[in-house]
């Protein structure tokens, strides 16, 4: 058991979220046609925080949440604990959807989320925003917006909330 190590504090997280919000606006030349989709469970709070920041800087964008547990590639291999029910109250066709997750690790959750999102419609583009990229990808997936690149070993746990980022 490794002692928990705080990597980012609440202020660092707030600054990272603000910077990512700016980057999302800049990359998309405004937020016309942009929607945020938080991945259950961990991406939902971050999508809400990003939406708050984007609304402060520019104009409000639609925010939804997506549960990808029925699309995972490890169904039957480990217990499934679905988060809250998916809630996408907007048309996905033709939008630029920014998938949001707290920690990017193997990329398998994002792969499942891409499939889940495709069942709601055909976005013009999909981008990926994560608070922490901890490496160890097992699929060809890369994030577009990153709060913090964090070298880790595969056995470590990374938790990322508004209160901070902790490795244990």
């Amino acid at each position: 058991m490794v002692a928990a190590k705080q990597v980012l504090g609440p202020d660092d997280v707030r600054r990272a979220v603000t910077r990512m919000a700016h980057e999302i606006i800049e990359r998309n030349r405004g937020v016309d046609g942009v929607v945020l989709v938080g991945i259950q469970h961990g991406g939902v709070w971050l999508a809400a925080s990003l939406a708050e920041e984007i609304a402060r800087i520019d104009t409000p964008v639609p925010v939804g949440s997506l549960d990808a547990s029925l699309y995972r590639d490890d169904i039957g291999l480990r217990p499934v604990a679905p988060g809250a029910v998916s809630d996408l109250n907007f048309d996905v066709d033709g939008v630029t959807a920014v998938l949001v997750d707290d920690v990017l690790f193997t990329g398998r959750t994002v792969r499942a989320a891409l499939d889940a999102l495709a069942d709601y419609g055909r976005p013009r583009a999909v981008q990926l925003a994560v608070l922490v990229d901890r490496g160890h990808r097992e699929l060809p997936i890369r994030p577009d917006f990153v709060g913090k690149n964090l070298p880790t070993s595969t056995g470590e746990d990374v938790s990322a909330t508004a209160e901070g980022v902790v490795i244990s």
Binding site: L70, Y71, I75, G76, P79, V80, P82, V85, S86, D119
Partner: protein, 328 residues
């Protein structure tokens, strides 16, 4: 011996019921989409084995399996080698050898699904056996009440009356059990001839033969199907007398509280247990029960086949268990 099965509500326990109902919320969301299908059970095979006629339950299970991308096979006893004298066990073992992950079993004999679970490693889901149990009906009933009354946390304080032929009803057995496990207070309303022998505290919280005494003070009125055969057995004098004493007549409908749900497992005998048009009852959720049945059966299939329990065996293993099963 099956590793994971759903034979009675007891197999789930209270926490299992809650888990399946939570999962059903996810499945209901899938069903509301324009393309109601997810890849969750790709590569799994579900075999419906129906030794007794059923339309809605069989179609409901078949739809549920397909919406989870499982492959389905249907075995109807009437068109099978059963008519050539093949035993139940040989039939099941033959189908199992084709590589089946779950059997959905309907049988007129109580206990048949349990026997089958002893002969195969595939999961077995009881889709109704004799007078014994119908657990997925109980789950869809609970899910319907939970969504209609926003009772996500359970049924503490909920008052339900279940009316009719409780004695011969597997629906009554399973539904009463599930509702009580979730905290509801259940009153059985039936003529004495249609009460099961164990109707005391073990079966329900209260028993009466006077529907009018309870109908104004309940959250859920559950009407059971009155089967014509019971008349022939002289358990009820006549259908008309049954309706007068136990049917939902226009007079009784007026006594229902504005929020009281009216439920029926189907198929309805209009003019017998329900002598009003359910479309005109504001609390009728009979159609929702059918719709919710698909989401709940998807949840059960996913819980058994996709939740990380021991994986159903390959064809070879299914043959191996025949010896192991015989010790049961």
């Amino acid at each position: 011996m099956s590793t994971r099965s759903l034979l009675t509500i007891d197999d789930l326990g209270t926490s299992g019921i809650m888990r399946v109902l939570d999962l059903a919320d996810h499945m209901a969301e899938v069903n509301r989409r324009p393309n109601p299908k997810v890849p969750a059970l790709r590569g799994k095979t579900v075999c419906n084995v129906f030794f007794e006629d059923s339309t809605r339950t069989r179609l409901s299970f078949e739809t549920a399996a397909k919406r989870l991308s499982a492959d389905t096979m249907t075995f109807a006893a009437s068109q099978s080698s059963i008519n050539k004298g093949e035993s139940l066990r040989d039939t099941i073992e033959t189908i199992a050898a084709m590589g089946v992950d779950a059997f959905v079993v309907r049988h007129k004999s109580s206990g048949a699904p349990q026997l089958i679970a002893g002969w195969t490693q595939a999961s077995v889901i009881n889709a109704g056996d004799g007078w014994h149990a119908h657990p997925t009906q109980a789950l869809l009933d609970a899910y319907t009440v939970r969504t209609a009354l926003s009772r996500t946390g359970g049924f503490d304080g909920l008052r339900m009356a279940i009316v009719g032929d409780v004695k011969h009803s597997r629906v009554a057995r399973s539904t009463v059990q599930a509702f009580r496990m979730l905290g509801a207070h259940v009153t059985v309303v039936a003529p004495r001839t249609l009460l099961p022998p164990d109707v005391g505290d073990r079966f329900a919280d209260a028993v009466t033969d006077r529907l009018d005494d309870v109908i104004g003070d309940i959250d859920v009125l559950y009407l059971l199907r009155m089967q014509q055969e019971r008349m022939n057995e002289a358990l009820v004098p006549s259908l008309r007398e049954y309706t007068t004493r136990f049917g939902l007549t226009p007079q009784r409908a007026a006594m229902l509280g504005p929020q009281t749900l009216v439920m029926h497992p189907g198929p309805m005998n209009r003019g017998v247990e329900i002598a009003v048009d359910p479309a005109e009852l504001p609390g009728a959720v009979i159609t929702q029960q059918v719709t919710n049945g698909i989401a709940v059966r998807m949840a059960v299939l996913f819980d058994l086949l996709g939740s990380g329990g021991p994986i159903a065996p390959t064809t070879d293993a299914a043959i191996d268990v025949t010896t192991e099963g015989s010790t049961e």
